[in-house]
Amino acid sequence: MTVLQKKSVNPIEHLTPEDIELIGKELDEIRQGVIDSRGESDARYIRKVIDVHRKIELGSRAVLLASGFPPAWIAGTVGLSIAKILENMEIGHNILHGQWDWMRDPKIHSTTWEWDMASPADQWKHSHNEMHHTYTNVVGKDNDLGYGIMRVDEDQPWSPFHLGQPLWSFINACFFEYGIAAYDLELAAVVAKKQTGDPEFRARAKAVLVKIGRQVRKDYVIHPLLSGPNFLATVAANFTANLVRNLWSNSVILCGHFPEGVETFEKKSIEGETRGDWYLRQMLGSANISGSKAMHILTGNLSHQIEHHLFPDLPSNRYAEIAPKIRDLFDRYGLNYHTAPLPQQVGSAWHKIIRLSLPNGWLQNTTRRNLPSQVAKLWKMTTGAPRVRRALIREQAAMAAAA
């Protein structure tokens, strides 16, 4: 998507500043309604999810002690994958957002929780809660827009490097937890600026390595050793469970902001942003996944990404309840409530990743007939001098605009 401010048809043009203020007020009321009614049943919910997770994990790990026996390997791997998904999504992500801090239970609190992830909780909280949730979808500010390795917006400049992004993106999805850890460390930027000697960075990098060390030792040394002769089968099972969890969480996260039609914003647009403006940016910059209750739980209720981005610190079990009210608000103000089933959203996000791995307009301009000439142009853009490349990029964009 092009940033909303440069679009020919601005989807919020019809809203007056008063409308935006009223939207903000309504959303504040919805939020207060949930806060006022938070109570025992919510506390019971999160404790139940934690209890179920621990039992599934314990059971799966126990079954995997006999991982040399194929049915045990399959049951244990499926169980462990589900346990890891629950732990990262509905439990870890949401606790670290402070959604359950109101219970004042030191065991379930954003400041004490640690999760089954390569990235240490405190580093993730900074990059995710502060940076991404504050600057959601602002090109140049929100590093979650492509995580610094992907081009997911027309306004991010194209370079030949991006041709490989479908591949990087897939590799990143498989090892997502390490990608997140490197991302939280801002590893790419630190390396680019040659600041790896900075003591503050070193301390954080050390914390990440210690965390990864513990995680790897647990999944690939201790548990396999406990399963004795089944050492390798357990290594494979744990690797598979981590892979499944990584692919799943990556897919859910792609669905949140990358499907076609989700809006992005330019840096200038958030200067002097009011509460209402901020809400509106969250509304247009997020996409939901429709589906069953089980699907919502397994996505950590990030299937309610719009509701989550409006109210990141409300308990996740309440998003489903407020979703109809939010949707009604979208309808009344003529805004697009972006929701679709999981396969459709994942497909749309990958379509965008592939489309934007190519220069703006290239995919759109390419037909069966002009394929040879388009490929030749792409070759020139990739290998040609910068001036040639810029000219051809402009040409493709103009062709797409004219079509």
């Binding site: 109570g39 025992e40 506390a43 209890d51 621990r54 109101w102 004042r104 004490t112 513990r214 995680q215």
Partner: protein
């Protein structure tokens, strides 16, 4: 008999060292969780767990008071009669901590102890404990603490002055010190309650009196009004010869303290307060304070203790007695000013001072930067 109960050693040092080692190895298996997180699924009251208790029964005492029977975890150490215990219970999903005097007989054979709670109008925790708690509920506990106990040297003559739920630590003492209630004893209890029906442990106390084991004076304040210090002196003429323990509302305790001080026998009066006496409230208005490490910043009324304001905002705070006694809530004030709500005294800190302040009785008196 002395009031000191020998503390049992929970586990032999060598065994404890071994257990710690095993746990450290087990952590490699359970990381990022702790072995305890899994063991808690099986037995939350086991030895080595965070101290908890299970509520076994809630027995009504009066229309607004009940005795709560709690089975403590294996690491519980027996209390000294007169002490209180801090209980953390989830009310509407929110963990709240309160202190209650222990009322049970140390000789109980079932391993449980009891606290007796009077529901205060508007009191979230007390109403929940008296009316809304189901047996089986797990509560968080601290070890028993408090100094409202008989000294090793028993006084020949004792006087207890109590009002309302102030009877609870005294009942804990009477039940565990048979020498106070035997035929040779000279023990006087003056207790105030609105009506005869409102006297917590009324039947048990009246039986003791009927058997001639204590002298019981009931003051029913709905009909007879409040008891003042002069009336008390008239009721108990040999008051100066007695060691006196008093527990009840702040106003009553202050009147007694004044009277005893005026008579020059202040050292013979022991008092127990359940709530701090708030003398000075803030200037009003809101002040901002910041928790440095935790990154939280919030606005609070200058009349609300920092501890309460922070907890309401979802910050996990260390806490203790909530009345300025135990220093369990102390945090360093890096910069700013706080007001002691009991005295009005303002404490200020310049950057780098790190003055330790009790958050439970201090309110922000200006922008504050607290190291937490």
């Amino acid at each position: 008999m002395t009031a000191t109960v020998p503390r049992p050693t929970a586990a032999k040092p060598a065994l404890r060292v071994l257990r710690d080692r095993v746990m450290r190895v087990a952590e490699l298996v359970t990381t990022p969780l702790l072995p305890a997180d899994y063991l808690d699924l099986i037995d939350p009251l086991r030895s080595g767990a965070a101290l908890r208790g299970r509520i076994e029964a809630v027995l009504p005492e009066t229309r607004d008071a009940a005795t709560v029977v709690i089975r403590p975890g294996a690491d519980w150490q027996p209390h000294r009669p007169g002490q209180y215990v801090r209980i953390g219970i989830d009310v509407d999903g929110v963990r709240m901590w309160r202190a209650y005097s222990i009322t049970s007989d140390l000789g109980r054979t079932d391993g449980c102890f009891t606290v007796t709670v009077k529901a205060i109008p508007g009191g979230k925790v007390s109403n929940h404990l008296v009316r809304g708690t189901r047996p089986g509920t797990i509560v968080q506990l601290d070890q028993a603490t408090g100094e409202f106990c008989l000294p090793e040297q028993q006084p020949a003559k004792a006087l207890f002055v109590t009002a309302g739920s102030g009877i609870t630590p005294v009942m804990g003492i009477l039940r565990n010190h048979p020498e106070l209630t035997d035929s040779q004893a000279d023990t006087v209890l003056v207790h105030s309650a609105p009506t005869p029906e409102d006297v917590v442990f009324g039947a048990e106390l009246r039986q003791l009196a009927a058997d001639g084991r204590i002298r019981l004076v009931e003051q029913h304040t709905d009909t007879a009004g409040m008891l003042d210090a002069a009336a008390l002196a008239a009721l108990v003429p040999d008051l100066a010869e007695r060691a006196t323990w008093a527990c009840g509302p702040v106003g009553m305790l202050e009147a007694l303290e004044e009277h005893w001080a005026a008579a020059g026998i202040a050292d013979r009066l022991y008092t127990e307060r359940f709530r701090p006496k708030v003398l000075v409230t803030g200037e009003g208005g809101t002040v901002t304070f910041t928790f440095t490490k935790n990154g939280t910043s919030l606005e609070a009324d200058g009349a609300i203790p920092i501890l309460d304001a922070a907890e309401q905002a979802g910050v996990l705070m260390p806490s203790g007695c909530r009345m300025g006694i135990c220093y369990g809530c102390v945090l360093p004030l890096r910069e700013g000013a706080v007001r002691d709500l009991r005295t009005g005294e303002v404490t200020t800190a310049a950057p780098g001072d790190g003055v330790l302040v009790q958050t439970c009785i201090s309110a922000a008196a200006g922008a504050c930067d607290i190291d937490h």
